[in-house]
């Protein structure tokens, strides 16, 4: 009998089985369920529809305000009031509201609500981020979340696994985002990886910090995958220390585990990378779009709003001025990120360079909050999606790239290769 992949082991362990095989449908125990302001009231309404008034565990339902805070209009303000009322009514122990907020996926990892070897689900597509600590993170709809909130369980289909072995050295201005976009170009946006478990491994992944691991796992949802995962190691243990006291199982794939495909990537062939409007897989090396003018820059989101992202931008922009034709918006992924970046001086550097900083939220990423796109905008973004209309106007264009490319480019108002600075 062949061995199992880490994803198969996690599903087996949490569904009372010794082994599972791809294609199997199981009911699994859920470690934590996340819901947020945008869909949370609907999720709790579904819970009530089940005839249930109490969640299965008040410490394991995590509620976050991220899409709507601070409310830009009456509609959102009223939605938030209803959301707060319903969260309090259920005596949820971990409620991250304005003042203590962050993007839900950042909060889930940063506050130790996801653990290696367990399954966490959330009502937002980028819940795949949780794979960064060796957990199975999955996005679900409000019905699935409500069922898990009532029962602590969720049905899952065991996915086939695909492995990416990444070798080589990281150039200082080549980031996990570039690797994510590179893989997007290889495999296509919602292409061959639909419903697969993606496992990132290899020496280059071992050297990657938690911020980069979160970026990589985060964008597996846009490859169409069920989950993205990196097996826990010393980096994971160091990151989790001080964030959780819970014991966890640092599951690893067996050497003889079965993969549907194994791909090898040499980082020597991955440079700064850009996805052109309006497709995530219209991916090119930065050289091919160098010189393309833009008028707005955006760095933030659950993909690239972490301290390490702000650090690399501060390094590039220190003592310099952003081009006068560019409006740059920077939104840290959480209050903790905001505070750390402030204490380390990164935010001061960015403000001195001419960037505007906004309070942690999903901001303009989904086109519903701060900094949305208008007609004719050309946006250079370190977010995760560039479909037409994603950030607002359908008459805007979004180029997606890494924070390093954004920082280098805002100096000139044109897409620039940070390695040439």
């Amino acid at each position: 009998m062949p061995g199992m992949t880490i994803t198969e082991k996690i599903i087996a362990r949490n569904s009372g089985r010794t082994r599972v095989v791809p294609g199997e449908l199981v009911w699994a125990n859920i470690h934590t369920v996340m819901t947020m302001d945008y869909l949370g009231a609907q999720t709790f309404a579904k819970l009530h529809e089940l005839g249930v008034r109490e969640v299965f565990d008040r410490r394991r339902v995590i509620c976050v305000s991220d899409h709507l805070v601070p409310p830009p209009n009456e509609k959102f303000a009223t939605m938030l009031n209803e959301w707060r009322r319903i969260v309090r009514e259920h005596h949820i122990e971990h409620f991250y509201d304005l003042g203590n907020q962050g993007i839900a996926h950042q909060i889930m990892v940063e506050k130790g609500h996801v653990l290696p070897g367990t399954i966490s689900i959330g009502t937002d597509s980028h819940a795949n981020t949780y794979g960064a600590v060796g957990a199975l993170g999955n996005a679900v709809g409000v019905t699935d979340a409500a069922v898990a909130m009532a029962t602590g369980k969720c049905w899952l289909r065991v996915p086939e696994s695909v492995k990416f072995v990444v070798r080589g050295e990281w150039h200082p201005y080549v980031m996990a985002k570039d690797l994510s976009l590179h893989v997007m170009g290889m495999m296509h946006w919602n292409g061959h990886l639909i419903y697969k478990a993606i496992e990132y491994t290899g020496e280059a992944i071992s050297k990657l910090g938690m911020a980069g691991r979160m970026t990589l796992c985060n964008m597996t949802v846009d490859l169409g995958a069920k989950n993205g995962i990196i097996a826990p190691d010393a980096v994971t243990r160091r990151y989790l220390r001080g964030r959780t006291d819970a014991e966890y199982a640092a599951l690893q794939s067996d050497p003889d585990a079965e993969y549907e495909q194994v791909y090898e990537i040499d980082l020597g062939r991955v440079g700064p990378t850009v996805a052109r409007p309006h497709r995530l897989d219209d991916v090119v090396p930065v050289e091919e779009v160098e010189g393309t003018p833009f008028n707005k820059a955006f760095v933030g989101t659950c993909t690239n709003g972490r301290v390490e992202d702000l650090e690399i931008m501060a390094r590039i922009l220190r003592g310099k001025r952003i081009h006068p034709d560019v409006n740059m918006l920077v939104v840290p992924a959480s209050q903790a990120v905001y505070l750390e970046a402030m204490k380390k001086g990164y935010l001061a550097t960015l403000v001195e360079a001419g960037a505007a900083i906004d309070t942690p939220s999903c901001a303009a990423c989904a086109g519903i909050h701060t900094g949305v796109a208008g007609d004719g905008d050309v946006i250079l973004s370190a977010g995760n999606r560039n479909m037409q209309g994603r950030m607002g106007s359908k008459k805007a264009e979004i180029y997606l790239t890494s924070p390093a490319v954004v920082a280098a480019s805002v100096l000139f108002g044109k897409i620039t290769d940070p390695r040439k600075l």
């Binding site: 005839g51 409000v142 069922v147 369980k153 049905w155 919602n190 949802v221 169409g224």
Partner: protein, 177 residues
């Protein structure tokens, strides 16, 4: 059981974002209500009240990654159900909406290559037991991937909410595995 009806054939990628456009993402879940503007972003001809629902389609035939784009909103499924859609046949489906479809009891049936063998308005007959889909207009026939028993069980109980409600009432939640 055999279900017969007219189909709409997707010209290209159909994204969840376009099945339910952004201004309805926070609407209450209600099949009738969600159906009024379903598919509004997919094509201009559907971008009016009951633009899609009023055309009497029973099936959608699509290519790769139906309802993709990464939106988890369930209005996509309830909107299609409210518009009278009985099944969607596609080469592949986006994961989030595949789950939602199972949870609401709308069959998302994997069947390769149907887009090349059907045209909008063709009359299809779907045999839910054998998985065979006949195009009665042009005489072609397709074999789909059979639906898992678990999916049929949820559909028969009127969706996941009812399925779970029943098990909570019977005290059988811990037996789910």
């Amino acid at each position: 059981m055999k279900i017969t009806g007219k189909c709409w054939v997707a010209p290209g990628y159909v994204m969840a974002y376009d099945i339910i456009v952004q201004r309805f993402w926070t609407s209450p879940i209600d099949p009738k209500e969600n159906a009024r503007w379903v598919m509004a972003g997919v094509s201009e001809e559907f971008n009016c009240e009951n633009g899609f629902a009023g055309r009497g389609y029973s099936f959608i035939v699509a290519g790769h990654n139906f309802a993709g784009g990464g939106k988890s909103i369930e209005h996509v499924i309830t909107g299609l159900m409210g518009a009278g859609i009985k099944a969607v046949f596609a080469d592949s489906f986006a994961r989030l909406q595949f789950r939602n479809a199972i949870n609401y009891g709308l069959p998302f049936v994997t069947c390769k290559g149907m887009v090349n063998g059907c045209q909008t308005g063709d009359l299809l007959e779907w045999d839910t037991e054998t998985g065979v889909i006949q195009n009665l207009t042009n005489g072609r026939s397709f074999q789909s991937v059979p639906i898992a028993p678990f999916v049929i069980e949820i559909a028969q109980e009127g969706g996941l909410v009812n399925f779970i409600k029943k098990r909570i009432a019977e005290g059988g939640i811990h037996e789910l595995r």
